[in-house]
Symmetry: C2
Subunit: 306 residues, 2 copies
């Protein structure tokens, strides 16, 4: 199975409104509730691709209970650890007139030392049987900034390939623990390396400890610096739509390709096709399976000189 | 005790953000959860005034359970009827830079015929022992438009004074069932009578069946057409602040004055002082008790020729 970790889970609400006008009152025409947080998004895509998937992290309170109820009927196995604090909500307000989204993110509840210890125990148990693990998203309050570094070391000690997708200081610390993959976007790379030049920043990130760095170039695809070479992967044509969850779909593609033992160009093609099919989907954060099948053979992967 | 009815309850969320920018992502700095819906707001103010208060209406699902948990430690007695549908949320996004509020209201869940029948039974039981009843807010989907008229007739048959605070067709039908009081604002009056001239519209509303019509004039106070005469009540000076819940506080003041057997001018002074003290409160929908005590003797009540 593939294990995904979401320390800062959320109950994601999507509200559709005819048009968002600040300081006015709005009748919400549609409400969608979904288990959220980056690792849960990755898990949903992996499950849709037919992979046995287990999700861990934290959930608590009434919103945590709702999140788990929504997860129960899916094929993602729930191994979330209960917290005394209440799981945060995020609200995505979609303006039906323009299609634009306004995002409101509640702060996460503080995780206690005892809850973190319980989580580490659960994580170590789950590594036994995992073919790959993804550590995704921000850290909730109460968890030390080196938490991802600690989890990367546990995964490496258990010989489970580990992907880290986070930002800021948790990324800086985590990358030094030598994860197998990191998947930064342009802002995360710039924050880590000080450079906005993709090749330079990607190489720099790799020198900091990651075995492979897969940098997101936004609509232009991915740049991958790996032990086997340097590749650029791009969709056949730019796609327009809602980019919510596109990065999480790319992570799912990379992990699926990894456990299937695919060579790098095929893994990257999968990640780019899933990401583009997510942008094209009418539902934020879901991928369009028909678009994925159509795009997969048409992703352009080119090897570059390092 | 005083009974308040909220057929379309809500879990009210207040989000503070540094500044609301459409199509951007926001970190919510403060989250407040509160039992919401106009009747529950009225009940909270009545309880704060020291009145024994009972709240009925509907609640269901995870959000309904949270609403009831929040109500449990208060002195408002919970007589809500359980629904299969999930209680709606409302989100008030307060912009810390300007103090302005952007409101997002989820649609309510549909109430079934069986749930409506169960509610009517509970309502009839609760009338036995009620000294007054307030019917507040919109009707949830699934409830017929004449529902408030039905409840007004039940209250009148039980000889319990009944106040109706709603809008649109439910107000039009409800007023024809001859409630003791209605408390429309300018928009509701205009919709009901076609007139925006306060005296004309208030008299017209009274001719439609209500024994007394207490029209809100916004910051200028109230205009009351009653069997005992016509009064205007105004705060000593205009107050600035957040008007959320000011109308509900006025309803609480009218009910409190009614059960205490106060003459009309004293009831109106109470309603205006509570309403202004709610606008002045730093917390939306709460009233400032010190401001209330200060304002009460200074409200200007003048009798007018009908």
């Amino acid at each position: 199975m593939i294990l995904t970790v979401t320390l800062n889970t959320a109950l994601d609400l999507t509200y559709r409104v005819p048009a968002l006008t600040p300081h006015a009152s709005h009748r919400v025409t549609q409400v969608i509730e979904r288990p959220g947080g980056k690792g849960l998004n990755v898990a949903r895509v992996l499950a849709a691709l037919g992979h046995e998937t287990v999700a861990t992290g934290f959930a608590g309170g009434a919103t945590g209970a709702t999140l788990r109820e929504l997860l129960a009927p899916t094929s993602v196995r729930d191994e979330l650890v209960e917290t005394a604090g209440t799981t945060r909500r995020t609200v995505a307000v979609v303006d039906n007139a323009t299609g634009d989204t306004t995002q409101l993110n509640e702060p996460g509840p503080a995780v206690t030392a005892a809850e973190w210890t319980a989580f580490r125990g659960r994580f170590a148990e789950l590594l036994d049987g995992a073919r790959a693990v993804a550590l995704c998203g921000s850290l909730p309050p109460g968890i030390h900034v080196g938490a991802y570094a600690e989890l990367v070391r546990l995964a490496r000690a258990a010989a489970v390939p580990v992907l880290l997708d986070t930002s800021g200081e948790p990324l800086r610390r985590g990358i030094a623990a030598r994860p197998d993959l990191v998947k930064p976007n342009a802002d995360e790379l710039a924050h880590l390396t000080g450079s906005r030049e993709p090749r330079r920043a990607t190489h720099d990130a790799r020198r900091r400890g990651a075995h492979a760095v897969i940098s997101s170039l936004g609509p232009e695809g991915l740049l991958a610096a790996t032990p086997d070479g340097l590749w650029r992967a791009a969709p056949p044509a730019p796609v327009r739509g809602n980019p919510t969850g596109a990065g999480d779909s790319a992570v799912a593609g990379l992990l699926a390709g990894l456990v299937e033992g695919l060579p790098w160009p095929d893994r990257l093609a999968r990640a780019v096709a899933l990401s583009a099919a997510t942008v094209l989907s009418p539902v934020a954060g879901e991928f369009d399976p028909t678009a994925y099948e159509d795009l997969l053979p048409r992703v352009k992967v080119t090897e570059e000189t390092p």
